[in-house]
Symmetry: C2
């Protein structure tokens, strides 16, 4: 049965007041799909259905709902049901949820949860956003370094139900210091009486709780690993970050960069569901800032008003020339923003990159100059063609170097390089382009410049 049929069937069922049948039709579905179905219902109907699932399944489904829906429903659940649900959820997912709760609800929850669970949540909630601590789970399998393979397998079996994965287990000493990592694969095919220290990788990669989530995802991507252990200042094992978390981080960071590059402030919720006032707020700041940025172009135009009055035909070429400066700049910025995000290029490569960009921009500029000089001859004769071609060459190089450098400067200033958005680079290139263009025109065509 395809989705439309299922939905239609479910709606018919629900009109006839038989949510049990709706649930029966969802019984075999993956929790991610059930979450998707529930989300398509009205908030009331969805919550009513959720409540009828057993608590283990509720917790799984809940983890796949989006943040707003989670919060909305959590606040509507009776507190006993909420406590039960939170107890069942994955350590990392529930910490993300509780972090969004109003203070009073958090306190209520901490009071009713078992002490150990409450402390676990409080610890995870305390980590700063976008750090390893904030995305890790504390549901990690730890094995003692004096165990044998048999003891380790027994311990794995006990820990399995509460662990996010048992395929990677971490070995700790008496003081919980991380001493190694071990793969389930190696354990199950090993002689049962061997000490696990013989099987473990002792120089296991680990990340620190305060490491940036992007760095952690890069590590997981680089080494193609299933999970990475997280340690605190004293090298004690405190959690683990798994491949699916890394995938989420990579996706979220790409979204953040793409939005930022289009001059939209970070929008962590779906563009389809976000309140219109949020959409307005995420965009107006940049638009206003850029309009005032454009005043520099206007200032340039005002300064050269006499030149423009005397030679209105010059305005014809203005969009082409300043547009090209912005386009070349956007290209260069794009390449740098992405290369910096992937770690392909680092701050120390600025010198090399400037050199490379200069050569590429020179070639681009010459090609573009040839392309517009023909239009220049046609529209305004040889003098104008020379002005236009020279301007094009210079503004393409100017725009490219500007677009290439800005992300480095921002990175150096600890600002996200993706803030060097296409519109920002274009606005800056415009201002430079106006001055270069009319400056050259005034020189070549011999018109006096006078302040407006």
């Amino acid at each position: 049965m395809n989705y439309e049929d299922l939905q239609a069937a479910a709606e018919r069922d629900f009109e006839n007041h038989d949510p049990s049948e709706v649930l029966a039709s969802l019984a075999d579905e993956h929790p991610a799909d059930i979450a998707h179905h529930l989300d398509e219902w009205s908030s009331e109907a969805g919550l009513a259905l959720l409540k009828r699932l057993d608590v283990a399944r509720q917790a799984k489904v809940f983890g796949y709902l989006d943040d707003e829906r989670q919060l909305e429903w959590a606040e509507q659940l009776p507190s006993e049901a909420l406590v039960e649900l939170v107890s069942e959820m994955n350590a990392d997912e529930r910490a993300d949820l509780v972090a969004e709760f109003p203070e009073t609800l958090q306190q209520l929850l901490y009071g009713k949860l078992e002490r150990e669970e409450a402390e676990d949540i409080q610890r995870l909630v305390a980590y700063e956003e976008e750090t390893a601590g904030a995305i890790m789970t504390s549901d990690v399998v730890s094995l003692h370094d004096r165990m044998t393979v048999q003891e380790a397998l027994d311990s794995l079996r006990d820990q399995a139900p509460d662990s996010e994965t048992i395929y990677r287990a971490y070995v700790v000493d008496d003081h919980d210091h991380l001493v190694g990592a071990i793969r389930l694969q190696n354990l199950i095919f090993a002689r049962r009486d061997r000490p696990i220290t013989e099987l473990m990788e002792s120089n296991a990669l680990a990340v620190h709780v305060t490491d940036d989530q992007e760095e952690v995802a890069k590590q997981i991507a680089k080494y193609d690993i299933l999970a990475v252990p997280v340690v605190d200042d004293d090298d004690r094992l405190v959690g683990m970050i798994t491949h699916d978390d890394a995938l989420d981080v990579v996706q979220d960071e790409a979204t953040e960069d793409i939005h930022s590059f289009g001059a939209v402030s970070d929008l962590p919720i779906s563009v389809r569901d976000a309140p219109l006032t949020t959409m307005y707020r995420k965009r107006i700041g940049w638009l206003i800032l850029l309009v005032f940025g454009a005043l520099f172009s206007s200032g340039g135009i005002a300064y050269f008003e006499d030149t423009i009055s005397a030679y209105v035909a010059l305005v014809f070429f203005l969009p082409m020339l300043i547009g090209s400066a912005g386009n070349a700049g956007s290209q260069a910025a794009t390449l740098m923003v992405r290369a910096l995000a992937l770690g392909d290029v680092q701050i120390k490569d600025w010198g090399i990159m400037i050199g490379r960009e200069l050569l590429v921009a020179l070639a681009l500029g010459v090609t573009m100059a040839l392309a517009v000089s023909s239009i220049g001859i046609f529209r305004g004769g040889p003098d104008v063609a020379i002005v236009v071609a020279a301007t094009m060459l210079i503004v393409v190089i100017f725009g490219s170097l500007l677009g290439m450098s800005l992300p480095f400067v921002l990175q150096q200033l600890k600002v996200d390089p993706a803030t060097a958005s296409a519109p920002l680079v274009a606005t800056m290139a415009d201002a430079g382009g106006v001055i270069i263009y009319f400056g050259i025109a005034t020189m070549v065509l011999g018109l006096p410049a006078s302040p407006a």
Copy 2:
């Protein structure tokens, strides 16, 4: 020892002709790190070091080198060494490598490899790029549906050395049809004489060999799974795609989208290492296209030349107004491109999104109109202020709707929505902005429009 020290030490060693010591210093490193070190050496020295690794390690390290380096070294290796290396490599990595080989080298290799291996490579190489078939590995664990748990574990042990992961195994019938999936975790804790069909998930998610890689990655991300099986037209198990492949796909697709959005043609190699001619080629096409796009703006300016001559002060506001149209458009395009890529928004949502965008753009336009009208009064009096404010309101709405719609149109035309790049949207918005601006100015200020 940090990286600089290691590198310095290695260079000293190598000058003294003792690559063994260099290798000894790398012995405990992860293959990804060894690949990184080798890449920092000259091509000759790196290859010399690689050759001294044992073949299993060679194959692992090789898999982490970038494509160009792989190809370069593969062509320099003696054919016996190459055959040995290729035999040892992961099925998916070696297929990617061989696909890049010149035809003669491919044939040579197929002649020298064992028949089964040669056929496996040929099959994988044949799948179209960016499909599930092209990124999958054929190193997948398959279990027969009549096996018991004990038989399955024995089979896993045999298959383990050649498999990319044994944590997910797939159950097939006599005709290799996929009938279910099973987790190692469930096998090892089950009674040894149980049939595995009792433990397997029978409605296992699977993808088709011709599915787009992006869709596959979305599935893995959605369901937080370790791997997904790949089937052919007859539902036979032919391979598997693992979480690390999904992560690579997500990263590559994000890079492609970001580049595309900055009007750079797809650049699959590092911007730091790409030949300058490649960099030129990836950029010049869009720059030329956009310059001719800007001719529409120029045409608008030519059409209204009399208005402009009579009222040169209007040029002052040109960058602000057409810039704002482009900026609002870039924002809207950014949001849509990303939402379409993530599947947050689909073609069928166009109607809703137009409605939402209209309201947001109206609010943005009113705010922007107020912001520029004050500048308008100051620079040109009430009449100009009215022209400028009305233009701003209309161009922001125009740019927003354009930027929002273009990605949908492209998606509908089966073109990557990210082709609706910030520069393209800005160029189109510019042309509209010029006509709207001078059109309104001509109407309000009562100047005659005449063709230039």
